[in-house]
Symmetry: C2
């Protein structure tokens, strides 16, 4: 099948760009002491997770228990849930996965540790635990101090939990525009994480793992001398927001190509200078702004409604006849992928495969 | 099952409020010459469409061919696609539905009319056609003039198309905050639609149907003396944005209750005054702003990331312990419903059913 035969709106993955991105991340960590544990929340697709593992990833990250279940069922043998799980039913499901795979999860509260241990006991499994430390993202995570020590102590005393180290991810830093801003943010995160490691070491609790870093900052974590695992997700796809980082900063985090597109069709040409396409609020995420149109920099997307977007075409009438199909670059890849049931995978203009987004909705 | 046992994030429908809303819309049109053709793009759920029809809806609206297929397969016998369809494959699928149901669709371009007729000929079906007129929404639709006449003429000359009238929907007017603004916008739309009807009548092409109106404006279309079909969708659920309309304007469009909620759980209490919940960019739409927290007006949601939202709790620590579950009111209902595979339907704190969102992703 050729690309032009595909109905819209559809989520496309350009295989050449995607494979370039997978290899680039491997290249960027070769010869370092840092493992790649890619984040599957970006793609929710076991086909992609298994490709990442085949290229040397230590395991994968998930954000939800449902994602972890899908990944383990699909043959992924090492999953870290980079999030707090506190619901009893979810904890029972998560700890049950420990029978089939190495399962890790984050904690930041003594009640959560107790519930996790209870669930692991009930399932007769051993669960790896990272304490999430607030390294500047100001979302979840404990501060470095007594509560960190008491949670670590609680974990080491739990017979079904294994203390492995720290989750020290700085989400806010990923999208800082300037190279120097991102570098400074991760230097700050590294100082906090290091002080946590040292505090725990002084109390006889060594950290085997310090994990963090995303597509926007991983070169800094890799170079920190402290982090030994990075968790990038978006690098496989890229998006409008991450492209803004790249353009202004050069190399670091900037060698990835756009591989994810929303394929859309012109369904109306109501006025001169205006085209209406069939991709709106249900076809992509808008939290990071409007999409751009691939290969048509002078055409601007605006005014999305549920199933429509308006293109200000200016003089670019060429290629925008009724029925024309275009590739949009979404502002934010993760919540865009979450809208679809599969990726249509293309090489040039040839459709090569459909990869199910199995963990969507879990 | 009780509500507290439901895992998060989940989409809830409060049945009492939902049923009130269904009845309210019927009440608001009784004794008028206006039929209700509810828009299924809001819910994408055949269970709901069939309930709307059982209460007297003339048929339903869909926005995509995939939605129409799902609805016809589920037993809906009268579907209007309130959108332009120009893709040949989609037109073949749409016109094939004419074997099992009354199918209508909108057009605004001669090329689209030709493709539609070709597809209807190939399937041996008859398709109802509304010409979409731009009544101030400035999205799709022709202006009143020669192109309107020539498209109408083209339709009446097509043996497999039946000219039925006008699609005269003003999407932008739905969310104007003030009653008077919305009233003025629909008076303007009505003038344009009336001039189209009169122009066509003078040329011997009577309009049997003038369709339009949504949750924000339907009282004006109902009272216009011109529109004889309204297309409200969101009234069944309501959302944060439509609630802003209600609060400022009193009765018109303001008698609906919030029935749609995103159920979420507190997964972290990292700092005094802050709680983190598990519903973020993948759990609801943010194009119309942040969600509010049901029954907790002093607590504010901010800073959504993919799977997290941050609550500024102020002094409202009560009810926000680790693991607590809350009901969020999303800013925009349609793209929020589009994220889920089913509604969990509750009456009070009791789970009554799960309704599949069958047309999601089509």
């Amino acid at each position: 099948m050729s690309l032009g035969e595909i109905e819209t709106p559809t989520l496309l993955v350009d295989l050449d760009a995607f494979e370039n991105n997978l290899k680039q991340m491997v290249t960027d960590t070769i010869g370092t002491n840092t493992s790649i544990r890619p984040h599957s929340k970006a793609h929710k697709c076991p086909v992609i997770a298994l490709r990442q593992i085949s290229l040397g990833a230590a395991g994968i990250c998930c954000q939800t228990v449902g994602e972890a279940e899908v990944m383990v069922k699909s043959g992924v043998s090492d999953v870290l849930v980079t999030n707090e799980v506190v619901d009893e039913r979810k904890l029972r499901r998560l700890t049950a996965l420990g029978k089939d795979a190495t399962i890790g999860v984050c904690v930041d509260h003594p009640t959560g540790v107790k519930s996790l241990d209870d669930a692991a006991v009930a399932n007769g499994t051993q669960i790896d635990v990272l304490i999430e430390v607030n390294v500047g993202g100001d979302r979840c995570g404990v501060d470095v101090g007594d509560s960190l020590l008491s949670i670590a102590d609680q974990i080491t005393r739990s017979r079904h939990l294994r203390f492995r180290g720290l989750q020290a991810y700085q989400g806010k830093a990923q999208h800082l525009r300037q190279y120097q801003e991102r570098k400074a943010a991760i230097e700050h995160s590294t100082r906090i994480a290091r002080s946590a490691v040292e505090l725990l070491a002084r109390h006889g609790t060594p950290c085997e793992i310090v994990s963090g870093g995303g597509t926007g900052t991983y070169p800094f974590e890799v170079g920190s001398g402290l982090y030994n695992e990075v968790q990038p997700g978006s690098y496989i796809f890229m998006d409008g927001d991450y492209q803004l980082n790249c353009h202004k900063t050069g190399a670091a985090g900037g060698c990835f190509q756009q591989s994810l597109f929303v394929y859309t069709q012109v369904i109306s040409l109501p006025r001169r200078g205006t085209a209406v396409v069939d991709a709106g609020l249900k076809a992509m995420a808008f939290d990071s702004g409007m999409p751009t149109i691939s290969d048509m920099p002078s055409v601007h997307y605006r005014g999305p409604s549920d199933e429509h977007g308006i293109l200000d075409t200016g003089y670019a009438a060429c290629g925008l006849e009724l029925g024309a199909k275009l590739k949009l670059i979404p502002g934010h890849c993760d919540p865009t992928a979450n809208l679809y049931d599969h990726y249509v995978v293309i090489r040039g203009d040839r459709v090569e495969a459909a990869w199910p987004i199995t963990a969507r909705g879990y």
